[in-house]
């Protein structure tokens, strides 16, 4: 009301009317301007589950047995001293109704897991891990045997691996780590609540500014089907879309709720999302990815005399345009070939310099669907991020 929001969450549906009145009253206390929402046509729709392999049909005991088997596989690798495996599936039904006449029912099932192996020797400890996820599909959980074995073997191999010599290298990122970079370092800066509330970001995130070479295209969209960030309508009832963020190297778009789109005079993008009923919807990413290019992996590394091939993700932090990411797995590149395994590395840099330094894009594509996104205490929100292999000039690489 008058640009102010009131929010109430509760667990007793029979109290609905009273709670709505409380929210309206709270909004009245804080509203001091004019409410501004981008126009959206009201929607009436029911979105059923689009199931591939339903985890609800697999008994919990069978799931436990499956995970026990993966655990035993990791522990069977000589040198592995401990493991950690987590799994969850959540079936969620959400109803959305608005005073503008929207009434939408949607269902989804998120299936997420994480496997990790730890190896120790002479006081040294190394870890290898992997996060995986899928929307409405249990299938990948049934085929993790090789992944489990590989994690155990890599944790042990890392004990004998050398440290990277810290320095500036050409770096090739695999699709998973490049996707995480795209989400964390760039995607969050595209969230319009962040831009709208921050004068410095308004100066930086200017539409029309060149952010990369002409081959660079970055997109966000829940309308891309079958991924963990996919849905039919966001939590304001706005139909899912596909939004160009960077097109031909130029910043052309950003992510909006109805309120940020209204305030900034831009079109809605369907990016208002709430973790669950306990939170108000805020501007969030969905499926964020770098579009594929044309080079094979062998061509990407062919001209690199000495560089680093970084795969998968371990963690990272961002602060405005600065970022640091830890790779889950790394190798030296020598004379155009992938060479020795390295101990874990971290990559550091300025986002805008790094985007400009992406000088080649692979012709492959993959999506990271593990974990989830955190913002304003709402975590883990189902998202995905993806990319082809990408090559970046002059990245600062150090040991983790």
């Amino acid at each position: 009301m008058r640009g102010g929001w009131g929010f109430v969450s509760f667990n007793e549906p029979s109290e609905l009317r009273k709670r709505v009145e409380e929210a309206v009253e709270a909004a009245g206390h804080v509203g001091k301007e004019t409410s501004q929402f981008a126009e959206v046509a009201p929607v009436g729709d029911t979105v059923p589950l689009e199931l591939k392999n339903d985890p609800r049909t697999v008994p919990l005991a069978v799931k436990k047995k499956m995970l026990d088997r993966y655990n035993e596989t990791i522990l069977s690798v000589d040198g592995v001293t401990s493991t950690n495996i987590t799994y969850s599936d959540a079936h969620k039904r959400v109803l959305f109704a608005s005073s503008e006449g929207s009434y939408i029912e949607q269902e989804r099932i998120d299936v997420v897991s994480r496997l990790s192996a730890t190896a120790r020797k002479n006081g040294d400890m190394q870890q290898a891990s992997m996060s995986l996820g899928a929307l409405n599909d249990f299938s990948y959980v049934e085929t993790l045997g090789e992944t489990a074995r590989h994690l155990g073997e890599r944790a042990v191999e890392l004990l004998a691996a050398p440290y990277v010599e810290a320095g500036t290298y050409p770096v090739v990122l695999d699709p998973i780590l490049a996707g995480v970079f795209c989400h964390e370092a760039f995607g969050h800066l595209s969230e319009s609540d962040f831009v709208y509330e921050n004068e410095r970001m308004k100066e930086i995130m200017v539409l029309g500014r060149q952010f990369g070479q002409p081959h660079l295209n970055i997109v966000d969209g829940a309308a891309v089907p079958g991924l963990r960030g996919s849905f039919r309508y966001d939590d304001e009832g706005v139909p899912a879309q596909k939004t160009d963020l960077i097109r031909d190297g130029i910043l052309v778009g950003r992510l909006h709720s109805r309120e940020t789109a209204g305030k900034m005079g831009e079109r809605v993008t369907g990016n208002a999302r709430a973790l669950d009923y306990r939170f108000p919807p805020i501007v969030r990413m969905t499926n964020t990815y770098i579009e594929r290019g044309e080079m094979s992996f062998n061509d990407l590394i062919a001209d690199i005399d000495e560089g680093v091939y970084a795969r998968n993700w371990f963690g990272g932090t961002t602060s405005m345009e600065m970022f640091t990411f830890s790779a889950g797995e790394a190798y030296m590149i020598r004379n155009g070939k992938v060479a020795e395994l390295l101990r874990p590395v971290k990559l550091t840099g300025n986002l805008f310099t790094t985007l400009m330094n992406i000088d080649a894009l692979g012709n492959d594509m993959d999506f990271n669907q593990g974990g989830g996104c955190g913002k304003a205490g709402q975590m883990p929100l189902p998202v995905s991020n993806g990319s082809p292999h990408i090559r970046i000039r002059d990245v600062v690489v150090g040991e983790r």
Binding site: M1, R2, P13, S14, L16, R17, V20, E21, A23, V24, A27, G28, S35, F37, P55, R56, L60, K63, K64, L67, I85, T86, Y87, S88, D89, A90, H91, K92, R93, V94, L95, F96, A97, S98, S99, E100, Y103, E105, D235, E236, G237, A274, D276, Y277
Partner: protein, 36 residues
């Protein structure tokens, strides 16, 4: 569907007639299996 005690007519009635620029309601129902 979400909660037996809140059907569509009740939800729309709770929203209707409020002295506000805009009102929205979200109801969730979640079932989770978790193994660690």
């Amino acid at each position: 569907m979400v909660g037996d005690t809140a059907d569509r007519s009740e939800i729309e009635a709770a929203i209707r007639g409020q002295r506000a620029d805009y009102v929205e309601v979200r109801l969730d129902e979640t079932g989770t299996n978790r193994i660690v």
